[in-house]
Symmetry: C2
């Protein structure tokens, strides 16, 4: 199939920040639905995509060549500068969430230009921030940075299940059907719930993608953490795909029974302390769902690409909550204590931290 | 200083198997002491060393160029074939001890030609096997493979503290003073104790090296495991030197208090179950002894060189003993469960195990 640019000034605006496998397909879904005007912040690939558009091979939408959304920007400032009077009804953040990364790439700083611009020009309109990202408690940084009443926004949760990867500059390969769950972080906020449901109407392409309203965001995020806190983390430490990590265990069992399941049970107990019951069947499901897939989870890929991992939202935050609730998490803590060393190794490579070899000490900034 | 070859048929024979940083300096110490005739099994560097000898830069013995012991062999079979009637009073094994490695490179198989030859030609003489290697319970494999009465041997323990590395083909750099403790694995075996003491007289070079009799081999080995089971293992997993591993911890503390000390306390409790008391001061000592040294422990170096690690003698055996005694070792087990995955990754690289990507399964041999 082919698609042509389709600009209409009367449609509500949506901006997608982050143009990896998730972000580009999200922009494409919105564009295809044709109810919003779609801006995409592309960053590193901007110059390439501006000229050539995207080459997308999608199991949902077919093969596209030279595809572009309505607007392309190299960063959020660029989008604001291009049209400060334009109001983004939805701000989709699909970047990695790395609160321990460089200051300017933390989520509140990424969206700050939009938030401040809204304050100047659009204070009467309510903006909806939709975080399509991993982890738990990812809304907190935004809520503490931007007063909800002053900045007049809702904050929504998006959990994406999709096998989509940027395989080259401007080239996206989507192998797994897109399934997005959208809901309100605050399950008692009716306006936010309405905004989530409204978003679904902007996004659903019957017969192409799947999107559903998520009634229990916190539950869904704990559930997804079963996989990410246990399996994503372990594969990142040992540099193996999931089937190898399982099969290479002692008697082919120690990874499953000595790491994955105990780590998952700790997540179950933290969630339980919040009154959220994760059924045992999910542990079985997540242990097995990638057993036969030669698939390296995101943190494993990050380490191999020398990119920072989302360890704080995947492990740091659950462990902080566990401490608060008095839940013991020895397995998650070991994974965390080991992974922060790998994270710091990556940070040192990037010059984000400095280790002075003369005195064998980390230099505090 | 220079040394010249110094052959005497009347001296007792010693064979050193393994020509890394430890083995070559052991051969040099014996040679310098001049009370034994020294054979060295060189393996990979044989052709080079046969022609050029060793280039050694030693803090104990100075700079040597073209040094050779009395005999050089490319493997143990070669030594036996060269002179089957020669009796080796001491067999020093300084190779890595990797019982999960290839069959032919396991310690009992390495020494088998000597043991079988002794049975044929020297059954009246008692041979002394001295294992200068890391880990606990390393004597067991030999004792179960070779009946002690049939094969007529003692088994001795050597713990080497030395900063010596093979930095190139035939090039050894010894930066730390050599200190060797030698004793009998069986502390009630008087003949074995005598053999250990006798070895010291063959080895000690006053003013050059240090060697002492080890009255409590098991105690010494548990003590050294405090470092190896906790620190060596962790650095191997994260690929960092010790000061970075310490400094990169959360608040510069999580490595020391979340990994190193808890792991060491587990070793203390396993040893305690055997009636061996490791004083708390050793934990402080080992946590701090390499805090300021830009030093990567052996297992960390192994991973970076894509060589198999000594995980069974350093972690596998202590954990087995802990299970036998009913001691809980959650931290050591996590390190072990993670490191066997890295070990298997190395084994797959070497073709020692086969993972079938079509069925996502490890193929059993």
């Amino acid at each position: 199939m082919t698609m042509c640019s389709n600009i209409s000034g009367n449609k509500p605006h949506v901006i997608v920040i982050g143009a990896g496998g998730v972000g580009v397909i999200a922009a494409l879904s919105l564009f295809h639905c044709n109810k919003t005007e779609v801006s995409l912040v592309v960053r590193s690939d901007y110059d390439h995509v501006k000229v050539h558009g995207y080459k997308i091979s999608s199991c949902d939408y077919g093969d596209l060549e030279g595809w572009k959304p309505h607007h392309l920007y190299k960063n959020v400032e660029h989008a604001i500068k291009d049209d400060p009077k334009r109001f983004y009804q939805y701000v989709l953040v699909t970047t990695k969430n790395i609160p321990d990364g460089p200051f300017q790439s933390r989520v509140p700083e990424i969206i700050r230009p939009i938030m401040e611009n809204n304050l100047t020009y659009h204070i009467d309109k309510k903006c909806n921030i939709l975080l399509i990202q991993n982890g738990i408690e990812i809304e907190s940084d935004i809520l503490t940075t931007f007063n909800k009443t002053t900045y007049n926004y809702n904050i929504l949760s998006g959990i994406q299940i999709i096998g989509s990867t940027k395989i080259d500059k401007g080239v996206i390969n989507q192998q797994g059907h897109e399934h997005l769950s959208v809901g309100s972080f605050d399950s008692s906020d009716q306006d936010s719930i309405l905004a989530a449901k409204n978003f679904i109407s902007y996004y659903l392409n019957e017969g192409f993608n799947s999107i559903e309203f998520d009634e229990r965001v916190r539950y869904s995020r704990w559930k997804k953490l079963l996989y990410n806190a246990a399996i994503n983390t372990t594969t990142a430490l040992v540099g193996l795909d999931v089937p190898r990590a399982l099969e290479f265990g002692k008697d082919k069992k120690s990874t499953e029974f000595g790491i994955f399941r105990p780590a998952m049970k700790e997540i179950v107990r933290i969630a339980e302390a919040e009154g959220i019951i994760l059924e045992d069947k999910f542990i079985d499901f997540f242990v097995n769902c990638t057993r036969d897939l030669l698939f390296k989870p995101s943190m494993c890929v990050d380490v191999q690409k020398h990119q920072l991992m989302e360890i704080e939202v995947i492990l740091g935050n659950p462990i902080k909550l566990a401490k608060k609730y008095g839940v013991e998490t020895p397995v998650l803590e070991m994974l965390y204590n080991l992974l922060i060393l790998v994270q710091c190794k990556l940070k040192e490579e990037k010059g984000l931290i400095v280790f002075d070899e003369k005195i064998s000490r980390l230099i505090d900034h």
